[in-house]
């Protein structure tokens, strides 16, 4: 039982690592599209870049939500092992 829990914790930690690495990339993408929107002269292009920036921001928020969920799950599993 404990072995299974440890394996699960390791798997969750791997997922957490991937998410933690991904979040700054979403922030960078968000900023990238925002900069493009700000420098666009064409109204249609500006709107498109703002939409893309919003999407990237949404990805970031989703990832942060999952990170918190996984962190809580790991904490619960570790507490259960004590």
């Amino acid at each position: 039982m404990e072995r299974k829990t440890k394996e699960l914790i390791r798997e969750l930690e791997e997922r957490l690592e991937a998410l933690v690495i991904a979040i700054p990339k979403e922030i960078a993408a968000h900023k990238f599209y925002l900069d493009l929107a700000n420098s666009s002269q064409h109204e249609g292009a500006r709107k498109m870049f703002l939409e893309l920036a919003d999407q990237e921001f949404g990805h970031k928020q989703s990832l942060e939500k999952v990170v918190k969920e996984i962190q809580n799950e790991i904490a619960e599993l570790k507490a259960g092992m004590k």
Partner: protein, 143 residues
Amino acid sequence: MKIGEFNIHFHSISAHFTNALYPVAVLFLILFKIFHHDSFRSTYYYLILLALISTPITFMAGLIEWKQKYKGARVKIFIRKYTGGVILMGAGSIIAVWNYISPEIIKESGLLSFIFILLNFAIILLVAYLGYLGGKLVFGGTH
């Protein structure tokens, strides 16, 4: 690292200095072993000293980036990078002090000399591993 409006990747920049100095130092160690020119030995020693100076700068820059960019997340990749950085500073200090106290260690061919050279090559492997982890952070990867 954010300086005003600019986002400067100071850890990546400084890591390139450290990552270059150690392998080149070891290259001069090998050259000394082959050709026995004292200039190669001196170059090796000074390069190790420079690497020793640059390592804590890179380490600190990495810590700042970890705090700022990754919000200090305690996941394995950062723990490995941190541990590797500490080992690198320790191993680098050992070979620098060892070489200072006993400069003949490079010339000799006994067990201690073998350990000294092994430690130098171990540092190269460690620097490569730290570079691999850094690449994983920048370019992604699952393993």
